[in-house]
Structure formats: C-alpha cells, structure tokens
Subunit: 299 residues, 2 copies
C-alpha cells in the first residue's frame, strides 16, 4: 500500500522547507522525503531548458525512492518543468503556483490580485496564466521581490537569526532594514485596488509578517506553501492514501519520518539553516548524487 | 453583508438542477436563485457566439438580482462563455468543467481519465484543456453520450418516472433499455486503462448508477455537480460569505430560500420535472424576460 510511502518534495535549496513545514503541520502522520539541489542553487538565474533537466533529474530520483506524490516546492522549477515531469512520472506531481493562484482567486473581493515573486517567476508569467486559466476576470499586478530572497539567504548564511524557530520568534526579521525593504517591494502593488497578494516564492513565508505589515490592513496574503499543503491533503484524501496514526508502523521499520537529501557536500549548513526554516531539527540528512544529465538524456 | 444573498445558478434548462441540488445538500443554509433558459434550450446545437450572448444575458440578470456568486451549471455554456462572463461581472463566476476536471486528476491512479459529455462539449475540448492545464501527464479519453440527455428529456417529458424523487428511487432508470444505452455510451472508454470518469453533463448524475454499472467495478465516476458544490463551499468559506443557520433571517423578510426562474411560459412542466431533479418541490417559480440582445450589445 502507498499509505506509508513518503511525500517527495524538492526545491533548488532550502526555501522549499517552508512548504515541507506546512505539509508536516497539516498532515502530521505523513512521512516526507525532501531533496534540496543545493549544489546548483539558485535555479532562478539559469536558462529554463537547464532547469527543466534538473527537474527531471530530481523527479526521477524521487520516483526511484518510492514516494507517493511529488511536490515541486519551488516557483522557478514549477514554472519551468512542471508539465515535463507530470508527463514522465507515474505518480502525481504538483507545483506551488496553481494552489496559490487558486486560493487568491477564491479570496479576492476586488477581483484584483497581487503577486510577489522573484524576477524570474514574474517574467515567466506563470502566475498570470494560472490565475487567468481559472478566472479570466481577475486582474493581476506583479511585483518582483527577489531582494527578499537575498535578505533571507544572507541572514541564513550569517547565522545571526539562527537562535531559534522563526515561527516562535516573529520578531526575528522585525528590523528597520526589513520593514523598509518590505515597503519598497510591495510599492508596485499599492494603488491598484489589490486586496489579496500571493507570496509567490518559498522564501517569503519567512517574512510574512513584515510583508503583511507593509501591505497594510485591508490586504490579505496567500501563502503558496499553505495552499500547496492543502492541495496535498486533498489529493491524498481523494486517493485514499492519507497516512493515519497507525500507518507509520507500516513503513520499512526504523526509517526516520522526515528524511532530507542535499546535492551539496555541506550537510552542516543545510542542517543549521534547515532547522530554522523547517522548525524542527533535521535528524536525517544525506548527501546524494543525482543521475548524470547524460544518463537522463539516454532514457 | 453578502452572507444572506443567494447563490445564482443557471442552465439552459433543467439539467443544472442536479448542481443546485448538490449545492443545497452541501450548504443547506444557503439561498439559491436558479435560472433555466428553458425557452432557448438546448444550447448544445447553437453556435458558440450565440451561447456566449445568452451567458452574458443570464449572467447580467443574476447580477442585477444581487447574487453573491454565479455558477454556470451547464457544460456547453461553461465551455462557450465562462471567460466572457468572468470578465464582465463583479461577483465570482465558476463553471462546472474545472471542478470536475480537477477532481478526476486528483482521483486517478492510472493517470487515465475518461470524460462522458455531449458531442458539443467533447468537440469544444474544454475538459481536455482543463485537465491538461492542471496536469499535463494525465491521458484523456472522451466519449460523446448525448443520447443520455435525449433519454432523460424524453422521460421527463413523458412523466412516466415522475412519481417521486430519483435519489429515493434508484431503480427509476434501471431498465434494459437504459442498461443497454449505458453499455454503448461507455464503450469508447473501455480498454484504455481509464480508472476515473467525469460525468461531464448536468443530466448525467440522474443516470449515475447505470453509468457506474456499465463502467464496472474498478472505475470511479466523478460528478461535476458534486465537485462544483464543493468548489462553491470552498469559495464562500474562503471569502467569509457562508450563510449560517442564523443568516436566513437577515434576508429580505419572507423571501423563499429557493427561487426558480424560467424564460419559458410553461411553468408547470418546469415545476413537475424540476421537482424530480431537485428532489424538493419548486415552491417559487416565476417567468422572466431577459434583457434583449440589442440592449446587451449597447452596454
């Protein structure tokens, strides 16, 4: 049975751990196998064709490791490679874009939605397409906010804020610099009647409070991470594949519930920053080598 | 507040009452305003451009009657006019195609989905598009089954089966003729590994048992009506617009909870056949005139 199989989640690095965290929180009985392709992070600056190959590599790796569902927990990878990997894997694959787009459409009253994302995601037009596929009448305003990623990555690297779980320490990013950056990044969304904003990058839930504060009271934010977790729950429920409290014992005995894999050699950085994002120590981290692109091409 | 406003539902005729029924069953505190454009039924044989105009007419009528959400409870009208009406109304509009497509994708294990629909819906390719927008890897096999509509319409007109609610009388359509028709209609779906079939026409839930029997055990059916009701619930919940047990009293005093409007002069046929489909007497039916196409064009 596939109940006890893990949910496969992947990202170019650590940001997707916000999605893993949302899934673990909504579905506490599920096992997770997370791959961070940290060695080649970030994906955002690479050509789409290259990212598509990476998505195939990681997707095939997860399928070989017998996951029941694959989540591409990365907006860039979803925009570039979701369709390719859906066509090649035998298990369902979902991305983070459609769930966030859908939630925003359902929530907006002004029928004007804002999208905060990296420049690459903005340029791909993936959110606009996903929104208009579902509701042709919703107006979309996008704002590139890649500097949020730089900020989070810098702080993760510096270790300054890594004293604890950010969820337990909402003041972690509550500094004058962050407030000012948030004001600047959301500025393009103001004055357009936008009442709902999608946090269209996996790093952004880390700054949700500061972004909300900058957007002001009448604007609600939608977390792609939360919405993707909701979608995962719905799919597993519909397929009768939800793990229950008893299912954990059905797994190959003794395996940790949450396993993490990185393509980088530096497991320590992954562990330290990962704990901060996942909100739980990463007890099982391994270094992995993906199938070479040549082997993949020969398939 | 919009809590007490009705949900607007429309169809070319009576078939959409299966959707209204599913909504009333899932959300018993909601009011419904249903329009059947019975005078011009069926839409399926008309040019798409004409159907788009009809959708705009009925959509504007519902908006003027202050509904909080519009459901196009008709596959033909959804395929032809959903995007147009989403762009012109200020309230959210959903169709019946996307919810059914989404549920089928979530449910299928073989990643092979069948669609039973009228010839017009099959030809529009709307289900294939909706499915592939969400999952590029799901294979779709379609089968035209318009003869189900003819059968249901004939029986509704004859009144033979109108002794009671069909849900309470599952044997209503359990005749050799219907079984044989069901076998013939599902035949194009057999042998393709399809494990999930969308009932892509609002009349088909009336024959759900017979269609399921013809498909055999390993195949599950997805009712667009049920899935659309689920989507309505999700949207209203997300917007904080769900009516509660107390909300009914907030409505303009004395209004019936379920109101039905028909563009035909024959209110009696609507009442008799409608009760059979809605599963509840239609206590409030009115004849309405829509805005003329000329007036609509002048907007």
């Amino acid at each position: 049975m596939s109940l006890s199989k893990p949910i496969g989640i992947f990202d170019s690095g650590l940001g997707g751990l916000t999605v893993a965290r949302a899934i673990a929180s909504r579905l506490p009985d599920e096992s997770i196998y997370y791959v961070g392709d940290t060695k080649r992070c970030p994906y955002g600056t690479r050509p789409q064709a290259e990212v598509r190959l990476f998505v195939r590599q990681v997707g095939h790796w997860l399928e070989r490791h017998d996951v029941k569902l694959v989540v591409i927990a990365c907006n860039t990878a979803t925009a570039a490679g979701l369709d390719v990997i859906q066509r090649t894997l035998s298990v369902p694959v979902i991305g983070v874009i459609e769930p966030g787009a859908r939630a925003a459409i359902q929530a907006t009253r002004s029928r004007r939605v804002g999208v905060l994302a990296t420049q690459g995601t903005v340029d791909s037009g993936a959110y606009e397409r996903a929104i208009h596929n579902l509701d042709a009448g919703v107006h979309v305003t996008q704002a590139p906010a890649g500097s949020f990623v730089d900020l989070v990555e810098r702080e993760l690297a510096s270790g300054t804020y890594l004293h604890d779980d950010w969820m337990e320490n909402p003041e972690v990013f509550d500094t004058a610099e962050v407030r000012e950056l948030a004001q600047r990044n959301v500025a393009p969304l103001m004055g357009h009647g936008v009442d709902t904003v999608v946090l269209g990058c996996t790093h952004f839930p880390l700054l949700a409070r500061e972004i909300s504060a900058a957007l002001g009271p009448g604007v609600r934010t939608v977390s792609s991470a939360e919405e993707t977790a909701r979608e995962v729950a719905e799919i597993l429920e519909r397929r009768g594949e939800l793990a229950g409290p008893d299912t954990a014992d059905l797994g190959a005995g003794g395996e940790p519930k949450y396993r993490f894999a990185t393509t980088s050699d530096d497991i320590t950085s992954f562990a330290v920053a990962g704990k901060f994002i996942f909100g739980h120590p990463l007890d099982s981290i391994e270094h992995i080598e993906l199938e070479t692109l040549e082997a993949l091409a020969a398939r």
